[in-house]
């Protein structure tokens, strides 16, 4: 099918990308700065044969996603930080029942009501199982409007492959930003439930009844189920780490940043490279699993490295960098949080302080 070039915002690209990936169910509750997603879904989902529901709360929305996913449909919801906090109960149930789903968090600053300006301070919540229990969501972070669009296909594919919730982590800056992208020209949604999902609830015609559950009354049964979850997480860790590397071959200082911070950090790297500084960048694309392998490999090859994590938070992802290098080289941190966006100049000043 022919591609088309369109100019849209990050939020709209997420919605359009989800539709292109065969998402046939969306439920959400309005919250800034991601309202373009819900509006886009309200207008486009029914046009293309899917189901759109404006839920009465984020709690209802995530549980609607639970129901749609239980039937085998590709289902998603989106929100921003305070709404994502409300969804945590449902995300834990999705993980426990091994249901695929995509949850988009266009982060704003917190804690509490905070404000509507961009932040990356929900990193812990996303990567450390924000709800109760021992579980993990796969967490993906995009850094451009095109990547937001493309990432939706990956998100739904990973969710189905591993029967696991996937979180897309962006921030208000990326959500609102307009960029031209190449999008697939898509036909109406062909199926609402996927016939390959043998576990799905479709009515028990011609088979034994299916049950979607996360409850296991006995200690043995729950531990067995949890062991199988852990085995799945190990498999994901082994095969799904993704990152983008920039000038890693000769770098002595490596910036680590995700999402819109990575774009700004790239500007700093470019300016410093022009001045002859041996600096590089790692942009984690999977935040869980965190791309630890590349860090270990670099540290093994070069003991004189310094990492500088830059974040729109007071230091969350930096913990994963520290865990990855395991004390072998220095890991520094620079960040702001509360809606402030770090500039390339601030990063450059921080880098210059390192030597």
């Amino acid at each position: 099918m022919a591609n088309k070039k369109i100019l849209i915002s990050g939020n709209e690209a997420i919605a359009e990308g989800a539709l292109a990936a065969g998402c046939s169910f969306y439920a959400g509750y309005p919250i800034t700065p991601q309202n373009e997603i819900i509006a886009y879904m309200a207008s486009q989902m029914p046009e293309r044969g899917g189901v759109f529901v404006q839920a009465e709360s984020e709690l209802a929305a995530i549980n609607m996603v639970f129901g749609a996913s239980a039937t085998g449909a590709r289902a998603m919801t989106s929100s921003s930080s305070p709404g994502i906090s409300l969804k945590q109960e449902g995300i834990s149930y999705l993980a426990g029942a091994q249901l695929p789903a995509v949850i988009v968090n266009i982060m704003r600053a917190g804690p509490g009501l905070g404000n509507i300006w961009p932040a990356q301070s929900d990193y812990f919540q996303a990567t450390r199982s924000g709800g109760h229990g021992d579980y993990h969501c796969i967490v993906l972070a995009f850094a451009s409007v095109q990547e937001a669009y493309d990432m939706m296909q990956l998100a739904f594919d990973l969710a189905d492959k591993y029967r696991n919730p996937v979180i897309i982590l962006g921030d208000g800056l990326l959500g609102q930003m307009m960029e031209p992208i190449v999008a697939k020209r898509i036909s109406p949604i062909v199926y609402r439930s996927n016939k390959q999902k043998k576990w799905a609830l479709t009515g028990c015609k011609g088979r034994k009844p299916n049950i979607i559950r996360s409850l296991y009354m006995s200690q043995d049964a729950l531990e067995k189920s949890n062991f199988s979850l852990q085995a799945k997480y190990q498999k994901i860790k082994k095969s799904e780490e993704r990152y983008e590397g920039w000038f890693l071959d000769d770098a002595k200082i490596i910036l680590v940043a995700h999402g819109s911070m990575a774009r700004i950090a790239k500007g700093a790297v470019k300016a410093l490279r022009d001045k002859g500084k041996r600096i590089g960048l790692i942009r984690p694309i999977t935040l869980w699993p965190f791309p630890a392998k590349i860090f270990r490999q670099l540290v093994m090859e070069n003991k004189k490295l310094t990492f500088l994590a830059v974040e729109m938070s007071f230091g969350q992802m930096v913990e994963d960098v520290r865990l990855s290098v395991n004390g072998k080289v220095p890991v520094k941190f620079f960040g702001r949080s509360g809606g402030a966006v770090l500039t390339a100049e601030e990063i450059i000043r921080e880098v210059n302080k390192l030597e």
Binding site: S24, F25, A27, V51, V53, A55, E56, S57, L59, A60, A61, N63, M64, V65, F66, G67, A68, A70, T71, A73, A75, E89, G90, Y93, A97, R192, S193, L201, T202, G203, C204, K205, G206, P209, N210, I211, I212, R213, S214, L215, M217
Partner: protein, 243 residues
């Protein structure tokens, strides 16, 4: 030869339940299973089990079932029915599940007029967690959290969620029934059948409130519990068609 009069419903597995002696849940499960059989919809049904004593209802019913977090059954059911309108989708919920933690989901699913069937088990307590006050607990009724009895000044009044829901234009059918005598059980089954038939015909949101006994947390014998329902509970929760 002795003739078997009560055939075991195909939609109910032949295993003992975990419910206390005299509990209404087992009977309510059976009535639903009989109705599902009689309407010939076993292969189309998708049930949503609550969080409450009936959480493992899916161990007893022999058709597709999903769990839902406490109170969220109607959000889960809404999506299942919207994605698969040809299936017959129902929720089975206790008074804590439907009328306390899940009130928001309940009111909004009803107000959207979702074409769903709801079996609402009112036993005037939280059974699963040890007999605490439910929104439906009667005035003066003693529970684990109202040791001196429910006092309207402190705890408010028994919540008549069915009457509240009846005000919503999206709601098609509401009836309150009770399981305290064979006659009432027959009426309960007829109402449950009506609520399923409405969905088959696409008529919209239908709810049956079933007064059900919890001898364990009422501190009564199974027989005393039935008398209490007949003499006290139905005065607070009058039986019959509400809408």
């Amino acid at each position: 030869m002795i003739k078997k009069i009560n055939n075991h419903p195909k939609s109910l597995r032949k295993i003992p339940t975990h419910y206390c002696a005299g509990c209404g849940h087992g009977l309510a499960h059976r009535l639903i299973a009989e109705v599902v059989d009689e309407l010939g919809i076993r292969e189309k049904v998708i049930a949503i089990a609550p969080v409450g004593c009936a959480v493992v209802a899916y161990d007893y019913w022999d058709f597709d079932c999903s769990e839902a977090a406490h109170g969220r059954a109607l959000a889960v059911a809404t999506a299942i029915k919207r994605v698969r309108p040809d299936n017959i989708v129902f929720t089975y919920q206790g008074d804590g599940d439907l009328a306390a933690i899940g009130t928001n989901e309940t009111i909004h699913a009803a107000n959207r007029g979702e074409n769903l069937t709801v079996i609402f088990i009112n036993n005037a307590v939280y059974g699963m967690t040890g007999g605490q006050m439910a929104p439906t607990t009667l005035l003066q009724q003693k529970t684990a959290t109202t040791p001196k009895g429910r006092d309207q000044k402190l705890h408010g009044y028994p919540l008549k969620i069915s009457e509240i829901l009846a005000l919503l234009p999206g709601v098609k059918y509401i009836e309150r029934v009770s399981l305290h005598s064979p006659q009432e059980i027959t009426k309960a089954k007829r109402a449950i059948k009506q609520a399923f038939t409405n969905q088959i015909e696409g008529l919209g949101f239908s709810l049956v409130e079933v007064l059900s006994s919890c001898p364990t947390y009422w501190g009564l014998s199974p027989n005393q519990a039935l008398s209490w329902m007949r003499e006290v509970m139905v005065k607070e929760f009058p039986l019959g068609r509400i809408k």
